[in-house]
């Protein structure tokens, strides 16, 4: 189209004639106009209270001295409340759904003459996995998400981004990555999508690849449960809550650290380039609407995440029961798989069951722990009180602990499960989202396998060093 070329050329000539500052003069004209209008229509009466209050709060929460300590204290507080609060409802739910309802359902099914394999598959497999996920996950989520949402609603998250901005710039990433990282603490797939706020493709890729190091919804419960069982048990009961909370915070911080470290590595190797600058507006603090927040975060986040876990848990339960009950040459199928994973698992301070659990849970991180528990029950023999590949019921943290110890768990196993849960492949939803967002197989594969490799390495080293020191 020659006409287009002509017009574009003409525009270029005209631009030359107008001089360089015409863009500024356009903006200036708009600003002047806005000022005129607002002068006519806006009146400030007396003191602007909340503005000065905002300033005062910001002076502390974004200060170089207090900013990070306040962040850590708030984070620890949220986890402490979650850990302390989740204990009782969890117990109640597992008593109800596992102890009481499961035998009733099973007797009923057998009573109406259903074949044993169908009862096994649906009730011992699907049903148990599903209610296990509910009992383990619902209480911590129902406490954690509203608290997190309240902080978000109040306006604290952008301050976190403000505090982190300097660090991200130093490692060659975009300051807004602090925002996408915070989103990742909710859901990595959401964090990956949120990286669209970053304009430069280089920095956006860094944000996408490192988002997985933000502990997500699906992994918080794993961290909280394992920390309460194994780390909390190291100290007297009255300190257990706060110590387990600190353990979870440390893992989350390790994630932040890795996010920075990997960003640094990427921006110095495959993704080199300039750091672009941006401005971040700190929104005003708003008094959170507590009841509405609790309601929407229960509906929006808790139930949705739980539903996702449930629809993945049921089929996973079917798979688990099947691999545990289908035998080849007298041995259940799962034995072969677990024996296959065992050497690597033990080398890195985990075991075959745990690795198989992480594989089955690729669609949803939420079901890692329930899967591991079920497999452990099925393979620790009658000592744990089970019969013929059927799960038995756990009604408290103590029982879960006993079961895991029977399955050969030590403090090292617990620590490495927490580490590996932080540093392994993203869930399949996130992987798919990364592919959609980057449109590149190469970056998707890197985002998937980089963390797995790092996780295997880190757990390997931790295991070796641990074994040296514990003799």
């Amino acid at each position: 189209m020659n006409n287009v070329k002509e017009i574009v050329n003409k525009a270029n000539v005209l631009r030359w004639e107008l001089g360089e500052n015409f863009h500024d003069s356009l903006i200036e004209a708009i600003y002047k106009e806005a000022e005129t209008i607002s002068k006519e229509t806006v009146k400030f009466k007396g003191e602007n209270y909340s503005f000065s209050l905002d300033r005062t709060i910001d002076k502390y929460v974004t200060s170089r001295l207090y900013g990070f300590p306040i962040m850590l204290i708030l984070l620890a507080l949220v986890f402490w409340i979650t850990i302390i609060g989740a204990n009782y409802p969890s117990q109640f739910l597992s008593t109800l759904l596992l102890d009481k309802l499961h035998p009733v359902l099973k007797d009923f099914a057998l009573g109406v003459g259903a074949p044993f394999w169908l009862v096994g598959l649906l009730i011992d497999g699907g049903y148990l996995a599903t209610v296990w996920v509910i009992a383990v996950m619902l209480p911590p989520m129902a406490i954690f998400f509203p608290l997190y949402t309240l902080l978000e609603d109040f306006g604290y998250l952008p301050r976190v981004a403000f505090n982190m901005d300097r660090l991200f710039k130093k490692v060659g990433a975009h300051g807004k990555q602090a925002l996408t990282m915070s989103m990742g603490f909710g859901c990595n797939a959401a964090g990956v999508v949120a990286a669209r706020v970053i304009d430069s493709p280089r920095e956006r890729l860094i944000a996408i690849i490192t988002n997985n190091f933000s502990l997500c919804n699906g992994r918080w419960p794993t961290q909280i449960l394992i920390a309460s069982i194994f780390v909390g048990a190291l100290v007297p009961a009255q300190l257990a809550g706060i110590v387990s909370a600190l353990a979870v915070v440390s893992v989350a911080l390790l994630g932040v650290f890795l996010s920075l470290a990997v960003s640094w590595g990427l921006s110095r190797t495959v993704l080199q380039g300039e750091v672009s600058s941006f401005s971040l507006e700190l929104p005003p603090y708003r008094p959170p609407r507590i009841l509405q927040t609790i309601y929407t975060s229960l509906i929006d986040r808790t139930l949705i995440v739980l539903w996702r876990a449930v629809i993945f848990a049921f089929p996973a339960g079917l798979v688990i029961w099947s691999v545990a009950n289908i035998t080849i040459g007298g041995e259940p199928l799962a034995s072969y798989i677990i024996n296959f994973f065992d050497p690597v698992g033990i080398l890195i301070g985990l075991n075959g069951i745990i690795l198989l659990g992480f594989v089955i849970a690729i669609p949803a991180n939420e079901i890692v722990i329930p899967t591991i528990l079920m497999l452990t029950v099925l393979f620790t023999g009658s000592a744990a009180g089970h019969e013929n590949g059927v799960l038995f019921e756990l009604d408290s943290l103590k029982d879960t602990e006993q079961l895991l110890r029977l399955g050969g768990w030590t403090l090292l196993t617990a620590v490495n499960v927490m580490l590996f849960s932080l540093i392994h492949n993203p869930c399949s939803t996130t992987i798919y989202t990364i592919y959609k967002e980057t449109g590149s197989l190469k970056w998707t594969l890197l985002s998937t396998f980089l963390p797995v490799g790092m996780g295997l390495m880190l757990t390997f080293f931790v295991a070796q060093i641990w074994r040296i020191f514990s003799g």
């Binding site: 189209m1 005209l14 107008l18 004209a29 806006v42 609603d153 952008p158 949120a194 507006e281």
Partner: protein, 271 residues
């Protein structure tokens, strides 16, 4: 205004609230297309939710809405489809989220553009408002966060503001659903042409610049028969906006205006 012919009921919030039917994502066919624009963190998503009954997650931080969200509602027997655009500070730069907003207002051809502004920070928000009024005529200003303005002792004269801008101005507190009924009525009035907007265009612009824009507009109109907004395109060409130049060259800009609205939406999405 035709208020004399209507009964007092129309001014009663109860009446209007009863006329609102939230349709969620169900919007197979609709009569009017509404775009929701505004600075980040002015409560656009909250306004969107209270109109559609959807529960899009809102948060007190800028950049929460990255992609467009869409929903629908029925009011006074008309069906409206509403698009929640990402928050932007201006339409003049080239960042991705600003492009989404700008392209939609320009080429999505919304019947009404609702500009959501923060009443406590009106001056800053007016910059975007004036830019939106440069590229579209049919707009409603939603003066949101009035509850906070009150807390902060900020008073905004909505009537004068409306006169100066030439579009309806509706004070709201979307978090508590206050003023939403008036907003609905204004959207409807602008959509149906009952209220004719006379938007303020930035005047004190350099005369030389004005002449340059006029020359280009003339050329554009000569060469393309169906440009939606030649004035804006001329302005962008003067700025040397490569994306607009490309769009002109590959014909997507001109073809754009011929497409149906739903196809335009796809254009914005796949950008």
């Amino acid at each position: 205004m035709t208020t004399q012919t209507e009964s007092n009921c129309v001014n009663c919030p109860v009446h209007n609230a009863a006329h609102l039917k939230k349709l969620g994502v169900n919007m197979s066919d609709y009569d009017y297309l509404v775009a929701l624009a505004g600075n980040p963190n002015t409560g656009k998503s909250t306004v969107f939710n209270s109109l559609t009954g959807l529960k899009q997650h809102t948060g007190n931080w800028p950049g929460k809405t990255v992609t467009r969200a869409e929903g629908g509602f029925e009011y006074d027997n008309s069906k409206f489809k509403i698009i929640d655009l990402p928050g932007t500070y201006s339409l003049l730069s080239t960042s991705k989220d600003e492009e989404v907003a700008r392209n939609f207002i320009l080429f999505g051809q919304p019947d009404v553009t609702v500009i959501v502004v923060d009443a406590t920070r009106l001056e800053r928000n007016l910059n975007l408002t004036l830019q939106v009024l440069e590229i579209t005529d049919n707009a409603v200003l939603c003066l949101n966060l009035m509850d906070e303005a009150e807390r902060n002792n900020v008073e905004v004269d909505a009537r004068t503001l409306s006169k100066m801008l030439g579009i309806p101005v509706v004070p709201t507190s979307a978090r508590t659903k206050e003023g939403i009924d008036n907003l609905l009525r204004s959207i409807k009035e602008v959509a149906t042409g009952e209220y004719v907007c006379k938007p303020r265009k930035v005047k004190k612009m350099n005369r030389k610049y004005q002449r340059a824009v006029d020359t280009l507009v003339e050329d554009l109109n000569k060469n393309f028969t169906n440009l939606k907004n030649p004035r804006w395109i001329a302005m962008r060409l003067l700025e040397g906006d490569q994306s607009i130049i490309n769009a002109l060259e590959d014909g997507s800009l001109t073809a754009e205006t011929e497409k149906t609205i739903s196809e335009n939406n796809k254009f914005v999405e796949n950008r």
